[in-house]
Structure formats: C-alpha cells, structure tokens
C-alpha cells in the first residue's frame, strides 16, 4: 500500500505537469484546473502516507552496480517533509490561480511547480544516495527555471542562474560524499550507511561529512553561500513561498538532520555546523534590518531562520530543528503569500512606497501580522515553541557564545519583523497606491496557513513519536506535546529569549530615540546590502572565469600552421612523458 502511495506521490504531480503542458496556453482555465486538481490530490495522498510510516524501504527497483537499488522509505522524517511539500505546494498552486491569472506561459509555470513538488517528495522519501542527489538537482533545476520565469527581465535571468550555479557548486559536496560512501561501503542505501559508518576510514568519512555540509549550506542559502536566495526573489510570489521558504531551502537542513548520527562524531563537524548556522542567522537578520524590498526582507529572514535550524542540528537538537522547520514552513509561506497579495495589489515591492495599506486590505493585514508574530517568536504561535526549543538545545549542547548570538538574533528578528509590518500596513500612506484585498483563491490559502500558525505546534507530540519510532539511528527525548510545552515553559532560555524579543520590539516603538544609533550604524548598510562582501566575491569569480575564457580564445588562432604546430608539439610532449616513464 505504501509503495503505491509513494509512486502516486511522485507520479501524480509529474503526470499533472505533463498534462498541464499538453493542455497548452490557449486553454488557461483547463491548466488552472489540472494544476489544482493534481496538487490537491497529491496533498491528500501525502497526508494518508503519514499514517503508513515504516522504517523499511517500501519500493525497491534494482538498477545494477553503479546505480544501486532505487529505494523509497516512508520513515517519519520522509513522510513529514513529503506532507509539508505537498500541502504547502497545493496551497501555493491554489493561490496561483488568482495570482497568475492572465499571465503568459502559465503552462510552463504550473508544469515546473508540479515537477518541483514531485521532485521534492522524491528527495525526502528516497533512501538511495544517488536518487537523493538526482531529486536534489531536479529541485535546483525547477527552482532556477521558476526564478527566471519572467525571462525578459535580466534581473530574473541573472537571479535564476545565480541560484542554479551556487546550489550546484554546493551540490558537488553531496556528489563527492555519496561517491565516497559508495566506494567505501559498496552501497547507496543511507540506512546501511548510518548503521555502518564506523567501518569507514576516518578521512573519507570526514570528506563525506564536510561535503554534505557544503551541499546543505548551498541549498539552504547559508553562509558562505547566502547570496543567492535574496536574488531569487524575482520569482513569482507563490514560488517564493513554496520553494524559497517552505520546501526546497529546507532540504539542506533535512540533509544534515538525516545524516547527523553518522557525522556527529567527525571531529570539528558539529562546530562547523554551529558556526554556519549562527553566522547565517546573525548576518541575515542584520541584512533584513536594512533592506527596503518587501520580498528581500522575507528572504533574508528565511536565511536567518534556516540558520536557526542548522544551528539546532549542530547542537544536536534534531527534533527542535525539524519542529522549527514545520513552523517556519507555515508562517513563512503565509508571509510570502500575504506579501504577494500586497505586491499584486500595489505593483511595487518597495517598502518606502507602501504604508497605511491595512485599511485597504484588512484580511491580508491580519494574516500577515499572525505570520509576523510567529516569526518573531511570540507565544503561543508555533514559531515560539520551536525557536525556544532551539535556543534551549543551544544553551545545553553548543558553545555559550553561539547561544548569545542566537538569542541576540531573536531580538533582531522581532525588530525587523515589526519594522516590516509597520512600513507596509501602518502609518501614513507614502504614495498614492490603490490596493484591493486578497481574492477568493488567495483567501483560501492565506486563511489555511494563518490557521496553521497557531495550531501546528499542537502536533509536536505525535510528530516526536513518529520520528522516534521510525528513525532507529537518531535519538529523540520527547514523547508528548505536553512534555514539549513543559520543557519550554520551565527552561531558563525561554525567559531570556522573551526578554530579548521584547527589547527588540521596544527598539522599534522607541525608534526615534534610536536615530542617533542608526546613524552611527549607517556604515553597516552598504556592507549588509552587499551580503557582507560575498556578492562581490561572486562577481569576482564570475569575472575571472570570463576573463580566463576570453584569454583562452587566443589558442583558437584559425591559422592552420599553428594548429599543426600544436599537433607536433603534443607529439613531442607525449614522447617525452613516455620516455621518462610515467
């Protein structure tokens, strides 16, 4: 039964993608219907699969030596993330019916979205390293194609290309890791690897561990690969919500959590994970504070929140990281969709031109504030519980400096979140923008997600049990939601964090007093806007590659004599090499 469901979970969206594409752009109504039908069906199947979880592979297709057995295992982590991808995916597609209405090439849009949903589900359900890399790359491909969906806009094309190249560069780490594991253990099965990782030579295990970390950092847009996600905001807003907030960018965290039992013993690995998470969380929060583009603020905030999850894995809090992943998927998807509604209504992303929009779009205002409260970690929103668990794990199992950084960042998060809410919905209108509130299909998605922001934490207990029973190599301490609640409420970290968050809020209400401080910090603004120098670094690498490529054109002289000269020289070199005997 589980086998059939898994095949359906990947097959339905992919078939849907083909059908939408075949339907053709002359029949947009049919395209919308097909896309919604297949994504909703997928979501339903994915929820059913949650109850059929097991730790043994449900699907096994032998592929021969170099490719291993293509296996799919519906264990707790897999079914959970598959459900997140499918459910948020279906909400994003429903939202798109209004958002993309009348846009050109809707077929390509839906085909890619559905292709992505299937690939994301495959990525989390497979237990074969080759297939994991396979789906990993498909998600990168679809992400690239959707970021540059508006191909006539050079910024969109550049953003898509940047995302593709950077995630692929990191992906090489995963490629190397998977190859090393296969060459050492003769298997691609990740559960066999988790069971037998001790048999691997420490050097090769280390290469695999750090390779996977690089891949995860690139995918989750973590330091030092944090430059691509903000530029990915050229994508249509539902894509930002689905791919660049709720699902694909979580793949990095998933990868680290999945392989934590094998890599936690590698010297320096956990510290490296903690550093990557903490640095990303901090610098992205600073960048969010200075950004004036609504979607970029949310993108920086995503990098920052993913930093929390990565940090949690480094601190050993696998459950905390996955719970925050769930909370974040819900509230960030909500924020992006609400932001999309705003942008759709007013036609600009510039915060400086908004203001006072709350009166014109009350529903959007309410759901955006709910998402913001959750992002800021205000009780009893879902973001509160998971963030507190992360901070608590950090306090107990990570270096103390890192705990301080993360707590400080929690304050920054509250500050930039309320800055955005204020600039968009409150105050006096700063330009003559005429807005209309969310339309029917948008409302469905917004309300569903808004409901999730204060309810999903109630699932913490069942979720913990699900993970504990199907992941034999991980360790989880919680059993029920009450235990989680009790743990959070009694931890000292909670009070500290709430105090810092309150300070962050206070800083916004007292912002006039802070003006002098802001002026003194003004030097940070250009640095933050340039992703702390890493954008420049990216540009330098691209420029160098192009310079090298141009320089190399000298070798193609078009002159036959030089060509023959090259042949004769090569002969001499080969002769010399063979003569000295290599």
């Amino acid at each position: 039964m589980a086998a059939i469901l898994i095949v359906c979970l990947i097959g339905i969206p992919w078939m849907g993608a083909v059908l939408v594409w075949l339907a053709g752009d002359r029949r947009p109504a049919l395209q919308h219907t097909l896309a919604v039908a297949s994504s909703v069906l997928t979501a339903g199947v994915s929820l059913y699969l949650v109850f059929l979880n097991q730790s043994q592979p449900a699907v096994t297709i032998p592929m021969g030596s170099a490719f291993g057995d293509f296996t799919f295992t519906p264990d707790g982590l897999g079914v959970f993330l598959a459900a997140v991808a499918a459910v948020v995916g279906s909400l994003a597609v429903i939202y798109s019916v209004d958002y993309m209405r009348g846009a050109a090439q809707v077929g390509r849009y839906y085909a890619m979205v559905l292709f992505f949903i299937g690939a994301m589900i495959g990525l989390v359900l497979t237990s074969n390293l080759l297939l994991m890399f396979f789906f990993w790359e498909i998600t990168a491909l679809t992400s690239y194609s959707l970021i540059s969906f508006y191909n006539d806009d050079p910024k969109a094309v550049a953003g898509g290309l940047k995302a593709l190249i950077i995630t692929q560069l990191g992906g090489l780490g995963m490629l190397a890791g998977a190859l090393v594991i296969y060459s050492q253990l003769g298997t691609y099965d990740l559960n066999v690897f988790l069971a037998n990782h001790a048999q691997m030579d420490p050097l090769w295990l280390k290469i695999a561990a750090f390779g996977f970390l690089a891949a995860a950092a690139a995918k989750s847009s973590q330091f030092p690969f944090h430059t691509w996600l903000p530029d990915a905001m050229e994508a249509p807003s539902p894509i930002s919500a689905l791919i660049h907030a709720a699902t694909m960018v979580n793949a990095g965290v998933y990868l680290l959590a999945r392989f934590f039992p094998a890599f936690e013993g590698v010297p320096g690995w956990r510290t490296a994970v903690i550093v990557v998470g903490a640095v990303s969380a901090l610098i992205a929060a600073v960048m969010a504070l200075f950004a004036n583009d609504l979607k970029r603020v949310l993108a920086y905030s995503t990098v920052s929140q993913l930093g929390y999850m990565v940090y949690a894995v480094g601190a050993g809090g696998i459950f905390a990281s996955q719970l925050h992943l769930m909370s974040h998927s819900v509230f960030k998807a909500l924020l992006f969709l609400a932001a999309g509604t705003v942008i759709h209504a007013v036609g600009t992303r510039d915060l400086r031109q908004m203001g006072g929009l709350g009166r014109q779009m009350p529903l959007t205002q309410v759901v955006f504030i709910l998402g913001a409260l959750s992002l800021a970690g205000i009780p009893v929103m879902n973001g509160f519980w998971s963030k507190e668990l992360i901070l608590e794990a950090g306090l107990e199992h990570a270096p103390f400096w890192s705990y301080l950084v993360m707590t400080f960042t929690a304050g920054l998060t509250a500050l930039y979140t309320f800055r955005v809410v204020w600039l968009v919905f409150f105050g006096e209108p700063r330009s003559h923008l005429h807005a209309h509130d969310a339309t029917a299909f948008m409302r469905v998605s917004l309300v569903a997600l808004a409901f999730g922001t204060f309810t999903t934490w109630l699932l913490a207990g069942p979720f913990a049990r699900l993970l504990a029973t199907t992941l034999p190599f991980h360790h989880f301490e919680f059993e029920t939601t009450w235990e989680v609640v009790f743990e959070v409420l009694t931890a000292p970290a909670t009070l500290v964090a709430l105090a810092v968050i309150a300070l962050g809020l206070l800083a916004w209400w007292r912002r006039e007093r802070l003006l002098s401080l802001q002026k003194r910090l003004a030097f940070l603004q250009p640095v933050a806007e340039g992703a702390f120098g890493f954008d420049l670094l990216n540009q330098i690498i691209v420029a160098l590659t192009h310079a090298l490529a141009s320089g190399l054109r000298v070798t193609q002289t078009g002159d036959l004599s030089w060509n023959i000269f090259a042949i004769v020289t090569a002969l001499a070199v080969i002769l010399a090499i063979l003569a000295v005997g290599v």
């Binding site: 396979f134 191909n151 290309l161 090489l172 590659t545 054109r553 042949i567 090569a570 002969l571």
Partner: protein, 504 residues
C-alpha cells in the same frame, strides 16, 4: 540468417548501397527532368539503414547467446564484440535519424544525392572500423571515415567558411594519418604482425621503438578524437557541416576515433605503455578547454562544437579511470556516455538544425545561427524550444536526463580508485559540469523570452519529418535518465571487451 552472414551483410550493405544511392538519385533527375526529385535517394538511404539495423539486431542475438565471433574473408577479419556492437548500433541509429532529418533539411540542395551516398558510406566506414581486428584494416577504415566526413563538411561547396573548415579538417587529419601509418610500420617492423592479438603475443620485451609507436598512435588518432590541443579543427568543421553531419561528427565520429586509439594501444600493453594517465590528462584538458571556450561563443553550433570537446573529456576520464585503476564502471560509464552523448548532442545539433531550417534555410539564407536568433523561440516553435532545452540541459548533466546518469557512473569509477587525488579530479570534472550550465542555461532562458527575435516572426512552419526525428532522439535522452540500467546490456559487454583486450 546465421551470425556470420549477418555480420558480412552488416558491413557490406551501407558500402555497396552508397554508389547505388548516388546513381538512383542521378537517374531520377534524368528521368523526371526535375532537379529536386530526390525522394528515391532519400527513401533508399532510410531503407538501407533500417536493413542494416535489422541485420545488426540479428547479429546481436547471436552475440548475446554465444559471445563475440569473427568473420574471415581471406586476410580480412571482422570481429563483433561488445565494443563493435555498441559503436555500430550508435552509428546506424544516429545515421538513420540523420537521414530522416535531412530528407527535409537538405531538400533542394545542389547534389543532394551525394549527401546520402556519403552518409551511407560514413556509416559503413564506422561499422568497419569498429569491427576491424588488425592495424592495417583499422587504418583503412579510419581513412575511409576521414575522407567521407571531410567531403560532408565541405558539402556547401559555395561557402568559403565551409571550404576553410574542411581544408583544416583534411590537413590536420592527414597529419594524424601519417603519424598512424608511421606507428603501424614501427609496430610491424618490431613484431612482424598486424593482427592486434598477434602483436600482443609477439611482444616479448619493452622497447623505445614501441613507445614511439604508441605516442604516434595517441597523437594520430587523437587528432580525429579531438584531444586538446589537437582539437583546433573541430569547432570549424562541426559548425560548418550540414546540421545532420554535425550530429554524426560529434555523436559518433570522434568517439569512434578514440575507440580506434584504445584498440591500437591495447596491443601494446605489454610494452609498458600505460594509457590510463595519458587519457586522464587529456580528459582534464578537454573538459576545461571545451567548457571555457564554449562560454564565450555567440554562434550556437560553435558553442555545441566546443561542448563536444568537453564531453570527449568525460569519456576520456571514464576510460582513463578504468585503464588506470582496473574498474569496470569507468569504461562502462564512458560507453554509456558515448551512447547518451550521441543522443544528446545529436538532439542538440538536429534541434538547432531544425531552427536554422525554419528560420533561415527555408528562407534561402545560409548564414550561421546566432544565440540572439533564439530569443523567444518557444512562442512560435514550442517543440523546438523544448527539445533544444532538453538536449542542452542533458548535456549539462541535469537530471532526470540521460547525461546525469552516465556522468555519475564515470564519477563512481573515479571514487572507486579511493585516492584523494583522483577524487579531486572528479570534483574538477563536476565543477566544469556546473560551469557548462553557465552557457547552457542562458540559452534555455533565451528561448522562453516573450519578445521573439525578428527572424522568428518570418520563420516557416516546422515540418513533420523534422519534428519526428527530434522526438525520436528525445526519447532516449529522457528514458535513460530515469532508467539507466536499460543501457547496461550494451555498455557492460562493451566495457568487458575493452578491459579484456587490455588484460584487466
């Protein structure tokens, strides 16, 4: 049909058909007094290649049951083993699709029947070369392949660029041929044998002369296999040839030359010539130079030509890993990549050819296709935009397309060497794969722009035979990406046969 007869027919059919195709073409023109009435020549080519494919299937049945077999015709011996099966298969199938494609693409060209005659001869030469078991025959087939391909590159004889390309190709090939011939004479002088296994048997001790012979072979065949820095003819030849021929040249001709080199070197293994390191070095060079050069091209076919240089590098790496470390995956991955590359690059060149046809050739314009001509292609030609995207993304190694799987298998072989240096080489190759997306991906973006280029508005409709050939080549590109083990029955015997002659 018994196996020996099948092999004889397989090898004789395209060669004998070649002049017949030409004559049929001429006679039709005489009889109908219509210069464009070439359909009998076109049809005959397709029929001949279909018959060749059927014969190959029948020979392959015997091969899969009884293993490799030889056919002796006096002094000439032909051997059907895993390698020749795979190479002949690719040559015939690609030739068939190209013939189908060209029936529209080349329609109305001056001397169209010569094109088909040469195409059949090229396929025949490729089959012969992949089946040859002695040095002299190998060289003869190699020359036959060179001559037919040079004439095909020069097919547009009224265009200066095509003539320049073919002359470069001819001169450099000739230099290579001289080297090979010199190498053969050295080997014969030393061992008194030409048969590859006899040479191996007669070798008793290493000799400097044999090393000289080996280097001559590497460079001689290397010119045709486009090893960097011997590749300088390739961008011109592959971009100036008619698009179907570009597909043949990139898809099978350069690979066949590499296989000829490997077969030749295999006879010298006891002369302490280890080709593994040489292949790996050339592989790394090819990948780097091919990708960097492609990055700055503005002509679509030139870009694809440089991409072939890069892909030759992956194939070299695969064989290099196998020969240096004795694992099967490298050679198997390389053969898999040969198979996939024929499909991917064939699809890329034919898609570009179809674009050239509908935009330029059908409007009697023979200029080269520039990247900017592709802007907004999908608006009017969704199928062309789709197949070209499919082809270049597969070439860039994106799943779920075929190129991903064969590159993976090659990389697995590198990892199995269990050496950090070799893993670095694998990462280097992977890095270059990412780099290649730097020119493939913008090409895809172009095609999906909403503002079409002016030339697209004036384009002619896409015809059925063009579309059919593209769809035929798209199938393996997608299917092998999902189901790589479908290729194993072809790639595994090929890899085993190659390793066996190297004594690994």
């Amino acid at each position: 049909m018994n196996a020996n007869t099948a092999l004889l027919v397989l090898f004789a059919l395209p060669l004998l058909a070649s002049p017949v195709i030409y004559l049929v073409g001429r006679i039709t023109v005489k009889v109908t007094r219509d210069h464009t009435a070439k359909w009998p020549a076109r049809g005959l080519t397709v029929v001949v290649l279909l018959a060749a494919l059927a014969t190959l299937v029948s020979a392959a049945q015997s091969f899969f049951i009884n293993g490799p077999f030889e056919l002796h015709l006096n002094q000439i011996a032909l051997r059907l083993d895993g390698v020749s099966l795979l190479m002949s298969f690719v040559a015939i199938v690609l030739g068939l699709v190209v013939a189908l494609f060209s029936s529209r693409y080349m329609a109305g060209e001056e001397n169209e029947e010569k094109f088909y005659a040469l195409l059949a001869a090229l396929v025949g030469a490729l089959i012969g070369m992949s089946c040859a078991v002695d040095l002299f025959n190998l060289w003869v087939w190699f020359e036959a392949m060179s001559i037919t391909s040079v004439m095909l590159v020069a097919f547009y004889k009224n265009q200066a660029a095509a003539l320049e390309a073919s002359i470069k190709y001819l001169v450099q090939s000739a230099v290579g041929s001289v080297f090979i011939l010199f190498g053969i004479s050295l080997v014969y002088a030393f061992t008194g044998a030409l048969n590859l296994s006899a040479i191996q048997a007669n070798l008793s001790q290493p000799s400097p002369l044999l090393m000289v012979a080996a280097s001559l072979f590497v460079i001689g065949f290397g010119v045709k296999a486009a090893l960097v820095p011997l590749h300088t003819w390739l961008p011109d030849a592959h971009s100036q040839a008619p698009s179907g021929i570009s597909a043949m040249l990139s898809g099978i001709v350069i690979e066949a030359a590499l296989l000829a080199l490997l077969r030749t070197l295999s006879s010298l293994t006891d002369a302490s010539v280890s080709p593994g390191a040489i292949l790996l070095t050339f592989g790394a060079l090819n990948i780097l130079v091919g990708n960097l050069m492609a990055l700055r091209q503005t002509q679509v076919k030139r870009l694809l030509a440089y991409s072939s240089v890069a892909h030759m590098g992956y194939i070299l790496l695969g064989f290099g890993f196998s020969l240096a470390y004795g694992n099967l995956n490298g050679a198997q991955g390389a053969f898999f990549h040969i198979l996939n590359h024929a499909a991917m690059k064939g699809l890329a060149f034919l898609s570009v050819g179809a674009v050239m046809y509908v935009l330029l050739i059908a409007n009697h314009n023979h200029r080269a296709l520039e990247l900017q001509d592709l802007n907004g292609l999908s608006q009017r030609y969704p199928l062309l935009a789709f197949t070209l995207s499919l082809a270049v993304l597969a070439l860039g190694g994106m799943p779920p397309l075929a190129g991903f799987m064969s590159k993976w298998q090659i990389f697995v072989a590198g990892a199995q060497a269990s050496s950090p240096a070799v893993l670095t080489l694998v990462i280097f190759a992977g890095l270059n794969s990412v780099l290649s997306l730097g020119y493939y991906a913008p090409l895809v973006n172009r095609m999906y722009r909403r503002q079409p280029a002016e030339v697209i508005a004036a384009g002619k409709p896409l015809t059925f035979s063009l579309a059919l050939s593209l769809v035929l080549l798209s199938l393996p590109v997608v299917i092998l990406g999902f189901w790589p083990s479908l290729a194993t029955p072809l790639t595994e015997p090929a890899a085993r046969a190659l390793l066996a002659v190297f004594g690994l």
